[in-house]
């Protein structure tokens, strides 16, 4: 009975996003008996430094780290899967879990130090702030002006349809929780979003589940442009490859900033260890220097140049687009705009 509503909420979700298995899994044995089970949307290679740092501090704790999509993570926690910590880039889904009483309260000096916008009810804690960016292929955009706003981007795509046909990548919002979050927040914040979606829709866009693949394709020259890529990954790859083939742009009319958040599921057994990892992550989230970590801190040095409302707010409004009716309406509109038949 308790989950009757969840079934309704998730029925459409489940239909749109078919069940996914755990994408990756690794076990970090510790010296003791205790095992901290972490379910996360963050790729292993990105998150491994954090896990190793945690184990250096708490060697007695073994870590069982599983990677899943944000939707899969949400569904798993919803269904009562036993994990001690859930880390997700989909703020809205995390928020809903907390709101619906599926998260456990946690309070420590480290979480108390977080700004108000980075936590909610001591249930959900943000530890990174990551902007949505546009990734361009230098080679394929040669001779074209760099777009600064969505309006610029729309003009660019309209003026050079041949260069961009089939070479635009963006999230499949039906699949990706993060893509859906970015899209709905943009819908709310700027008129240009739908016009841009329609323009992209006419150019046979490639739809992706994940940022990593988009960046790979831009880098390989298969894509000229990837829209709404998670900034942290993009900068990470760019720094590594540094071939100058990629350019990162932040739209100046409006930029979404996503908070990567952690919750302790109500089913957690190793609450103390989960709290310790949250403490470590939030302390890193509040660091002043960027340091040698793959994910950016909460207060980024260039946060002041971002236009818009700052990071997406943790609040009940996040649940608006999760409402099945709203979701259906949004996806219908999105599909209409994105999947146009070629004239």
């Amino acid at each position: 009975m308790r989950h009757a509503c969840l079934a309704i909420l998730l029925s459409l979700w489940a239909a749109a996003a078919p069940a996914q298995e755990i994408e990756a899994h690794r076990y970090y044995p510790g010296t003791g008996e205790r095992v901290l089970r972490v379910l996360s949307t963050t790729d292993l290679e990105v998150f491994e430094p954090y896990l190793l740092a945690f184990q250096a501090a708490r060697p007695e704790i073994s870590i069982d780290y599983s990677v899943a999509s944000s939707a899969e993570l949400h569904r798993a926690i919803r269904d009562g899967a036993v994990y001690d910590l859930a880390l997700s880039s989909a703020m809205d889904l995390q928020f809903q879990l907390a709101n619906d009483g599926l998260a456990r309260r946690y309070r420590s000096d480290a979480t108390a130090a977080l700004p108000d916008w980075a936590r909610w009810r001591d249930l959900i804690f943000a530890f990174t702030a990551e902007p949505a960016v546009v990734v361009l292929s230098t080679e394929r955009l040669e001779g074209l002006p760099l777009p600064r706003t969505r309006q610029d981007l729309i003009s660019l795509l309209r003026d050079h349809p041949d260069r961009f046909r089939g070479a635009i990548g963006t999230y499949d919002v039906r699949d990706s929780g993060l893509g859906y979050l970015y899209a709905t927040q943009e819908d709310r914040a700027t008129d240009a979003y739908w016009r841009l979606t329609e323009v992209m829709g006419r150019l046979d866009p490639q739809l992706y589940c994940c940022s990593g693949q988009m960046i790979d394709d831009v880098s390989a020259g298969r894509l000229a442009l990837a829209y709404n890529v998670l900034g942290s990954y993009a900068t990470d790859r760019l720094a590594r490859e540094s071939g100058g083939r990629l350019q990162i742009l932040r739209m100046q009319d409006f930029g979404n900033v996503m908070l990567r958040t952690a919750i302790i599921p109500a089913t957690a057994e190793e609450v103390e260890a989960a709290g310790a990892l949250i403490d470590m992550l939030t302390r890193l989230g509040l660091r002043d220097e960027p340091g040698d970590w793959p994910l950016p801190p909460l207060g980024q040095p260039d946060a002041g140049t971002t236009t818009g409302f700052g990071p997406i707010r943790l609040g009940p409004a996040l649940m608006v687009y999760l409402d099945p009716l709203n979701r259906r309406a949004f996806l219908t509109e999105w599909e209409n705009a994105m999947e146009q038949r070629q004239p």
């Binding site: 308790r2 509503c5 309704i8 619906d100 609040g315 009940p316 608006v320 099945p324």
Partner: protein, 456 residues
């Protein structure tokens, strides 16, 4: 005197008690009002939220459609970090949201928002609900929009305000206690002033109190003044009585003396003469005592309202010496006067009385054939008359005690006296702002009595 506690302290405690009561009351009221205000705010936000959602209700192709406006939920974050639940039902069918969320009964008709308080998933919630009729296809369907929110934010706001109110109430109480103490002291000040005015008074000052006093003290002052009046009257009456008695005694004594002197001249027997002389001396002493009693009464009477005139002590001394010359001559005592002019301001009658009593004493206690020396001086701001005799001195015991009424020296046996002489002199001098100094004469022999007066 037994104390029954301090009025000031009692007043302070009473006022502080009232302040404490008011502080607690005001804190309780602010807490209650803060809670109510916070709850009303939450109701208003919930009402706005359900209204915003209900406004999106519409019918499309025979189906009820709606979309949750972003603002309908974002506004719910205004109260605090509260959990939000919602449900939309069309008839008996749940369109969206939390199907098991309790919906308040008693639909208040279309468009009216119904509020309720309940529990959902173990937390107290406030529920707002509104019903709108939507025409779906052919039949009208009542669609109910319900939004619920936990009440933590309301509790936090109310607790914050309550804490603030508590701090203010304590501050108010502390200030009120301070002010109470000040108020108590201020209202008791007239009483203290009255007390001071009464205790400042000299021993013989029985004038009525004439001062502005609060109406509460007027009866006390009236009673005090009446008491002093009566006291004054009875004192005056007894002085009058003494004066009258002395006067009445003196006149027949004078007659007795005259007759005794005539008899002395006519008798020839030595034994009779001796007896008559003793009689005359006794009559003289009685007459002197009566005179002194009269003097004393006069001093007591005149000192209250002292008439002042310029007096030269040299003149005064000369006159007094002349008046007592015969008495001195009877004992073969020489009165020697050294005088310089010394002006004072005072009552000539009283000053004469004072000097006469001192000189009379000196003559009385001096052995026969000696000298009583009077010296009038003017030193700095003081005028003095020093009367020095060659008598037996003041004897043992404190010199000051000799100025008490009816007190006589320890070595006066065999000499008739009333013990009033120095008392009279002392009272006169004190009434004039002066004093009487008692000491030994030159080379420790005899007595030196000095009348000291402020010069004018």
């Amino acid at each position: 005197m037994t104390g029954t506690g301090s009025i000031g302290r009692r007043l302070t405690l009473l006022l502080a008690g009232v302040a404490a009561l008011l502080s607690v009351l005001s804190w309780g009221m602010v807490t209650m009002l803060a809670r109510q205000a916070a709850e009303r705010t939450q109701d208003n936000v919930l009402a706005a939220s359900v209204t915003a959602i209900a406004e999106t209700l519409r019918s499309e192709q025979g189906e009820v459609r709606l979309e949750l406006p972003y603002s309908a939920f974002s506004m719910l974050g205004a109260i605090g970090e509260d959990r939000v639940f919602y449900t939309v039902t069309a008839g008996d069918r749940t369109l969206t949201g939390y199907a098991d969320l309790p919906v308040p009964d008693g639909r208040g008709g279309p468009g009216r928002i119904v509020f309720a308080t309940g529990t959902y998933r173990g937390e107290a919630i406030r529920i707002a609900s509104v019903t709108r009729v939507v025409l779906a296809g052919t039949s009208p369907v009542p669609v109910t929009v319900t939004v619920a929110q936990t009440r933590d934010g309301v509790g936090t706001i109310a607790a914050d305000l309550s804490q603030l109110a508590a701090i203010l109430a304590v501050a108010f109480f502390v200030v009120a206690v301070g002010l109470s103490a000040i108020a108590a002291r201020t209202s008791l000040r007239p009483l203290k002033e009255l007390t001071a005015a009464v205790s400042r008074r000299g021993p013989s000052d029985l004038r009525p109190l004439r001062r502005a006093a609060p109406s509460e003290l007027a009866p006390l002052m009236g009673a005090l003044n009446r008491l002093m009046d009566r006291l004054n009257l009875s004192l005056r009456r007894s002085e009058d009585f003494i004066a009258e008695a002395a006067h009445r005694v003196r006149t027949p004594l004078a007659t007795v003396r005259t007759q005794a002197e005539i008899a002395l001249r006519s008798v020839t027997d030595d034994a009779d003469k001796q007896r008559l002389r003793q009689m005359i001396r006794a009559v003289d002493e009685s007459s002197r005592s009566a005179g002194q009693l009269l003097d004393h009464a006069t001093v007591a009477f005149r000192a209250d309202d002292l008439p002042r005139a310029p007096v030269d002590l040299a003149d005064l001394a000369a006159r007094t010496v002349a008046a007592l010359e015969p008495t001195a001559a009877m004992k073969e005592i020489r009165l020697q006067l050294d005088a310089v002019p010394a002006q004072v301001s005072g009552d000539p009658v009283l000053l004469d009385s004072a000097l006469r009593n001192v000189l009379d004493n000196a003559i009385k206690y001096s052995p026969e054939d000696t000298v009583v020396h009077l010296q009038v001086m003017s030193i700095a701001h003081e005028a003095r008359i020093a009367v020095t005799d060659q008598g037996p001195g003041l004897g043992e015991g404190p010199a000051r005690a000799l100025t008490e009424r009816f007190r006589r020296g320890s070595n006066t046996e065999g000499i008739v006296g009333s013990g009033l002489g120095l008392t009279i002199a002392e009272e006169v001098l004190r009434a004039h702002g002066g004093r009487l100094d008692l000491g030994a004469g030159e080379r420790g022999k005899g007595t030196c009595v000095t009348l000291v007066l402020p010069s004018s």
